[in-house]
Symmetry: C2
Subunit: 220 residues, 2 copies
């Protein structure tokens, strides 16, 4: 049974990685559709969401079965509960990509008010955070997970910069308000994507070292 359980934990990791990869593709395509003004990429985002939702339910189900049948202890138990949480974050990543896709549909109906620079940059950083947090999970790499946490401030800075710049546009020409609004919400969606990567990184750290670093509190 021991070896069977090891295989099942590997299967669980594989499922999370597959779901993570789908969610990352959704984010990538939604932002590329916006940056390249290419509506054709959005269809894939909606199709992939269905797959992500199916995996969300499957992974939760699988975790519950592992808890019931294998009654894992210590590190294995922390891995299964981390998987339950990471699963939720991955599903929400998909939701954020769908939100970006919907904003993009609205944005592509109107002229561009400026070339996009900060949003693609924010997206690149956020996507790297997601990728590295999942990489940290697979490799049980605490250092990489900690590194992901340090990048959240950069995202906040870009997000504020996007807001300030678009505010200037809105102030000087009120016809840009609806467009600026959609862009600000896209930037907010990217901020939330980075938040989910941060959640995953925190779960990885707890999974590996058994210590909760959230809220900077030491576990008794």
């Amino acid at each position: 049974m021991e070896r069977k359980f090891d295989e099942e934990l590997k299967e669980l990791s594989g499922m999370l990685m597959k779901m993570g990869s789908l969610a990352q593709t959704m984010i990538h395509k939604s932002i590329k559709a916006l940056a390249d003004r290419d509506r054709s990429l959005l269809k894939d985002v909606y199709t992939l969401e269905e797959s992500v939702n199916v995996m969300h339910v499957e992974i939760d189900d699988f975790c519950l079965k592992l808890l019931a049948l294998r009654q894992p202890q210590a590190g294995d138990l922390r891995m299964v509960t981390a998987a339950i949480k990471i699963n939720t974050d991955l599903e929400r990543l998909g939701d954020q990509a769908v939100n970006i896709a919907q904003r993009t549909e609205s944005l592509l109906e109107r002229p561009a008010i400026k070339p996009l620079v900060d949003i693609p940059r924010e997206s690149t950083i956020a996507q790297k955070m997601v990728n590295d947090s999942l990489d940290a999970f697979i490799k049980k790499d605490v250092k990489l997970a900690e590194d992901v946490l340090t990048r959240d401030d950069t995202i906040d800075d870009i997000n504020n910069q996007v807001f300030r710049e678009l505010l200037t546009y809105m102030m000087s020409d009120h016809t840009t308000i609806p467009i600026a609004f959609d862009l600000i919400f896209v930037s907010k969606n990217l901020e939330r994507i980075a938040d989910h990567a941060t959640n995953i990184a925190e779960d990885v750290i707890f999974m590996v070292i058994g210590k909760d670093i959230r809220h900077h509190l030491a576990i008794k």
Copy 2:
């Protein structure tokens, strides 16, 4: 041990209810501060956040201990995993209240552009959703949980209405843009609070009947 475990599950419920009550107070005070233009209420929001964060770590820790020591099965197992997820949602509710408090600080530095009607109404509905989702958890009341799910559309409608109305203000007088923005984000925060109540309601339904209704997928 059986009776001891029953007591522990009750203790777990009690911890979640206490944390839920703190988060609800945070939401209530942040919105009341905004509606009454009373900055003095905001201090409590920040103080309570610390308690919510402490409970977040404690409840996760307690759930992990129950899984390791009691190796629960079936309904009990679903209750502990539901608690892990609800715990996350409650912590995020606190985060949303803090976001509202911060927007309120910025709003109270400027004159009101209009009497607030929709946002307090949205807040009342969102708070009731949170309250009822937790009530459904304690009473294992699937009907009440399902009822919570139906209210999400009302929140979305109000949120859209807030946006459209404030857009009109911004278009006609661009000096209102920063104020309108903060209000739109408060309304968004309330929408996310309702989303968390929906998550909790879904977890309650799964906990009680062992069936996953998310994404309208039947579990095999």
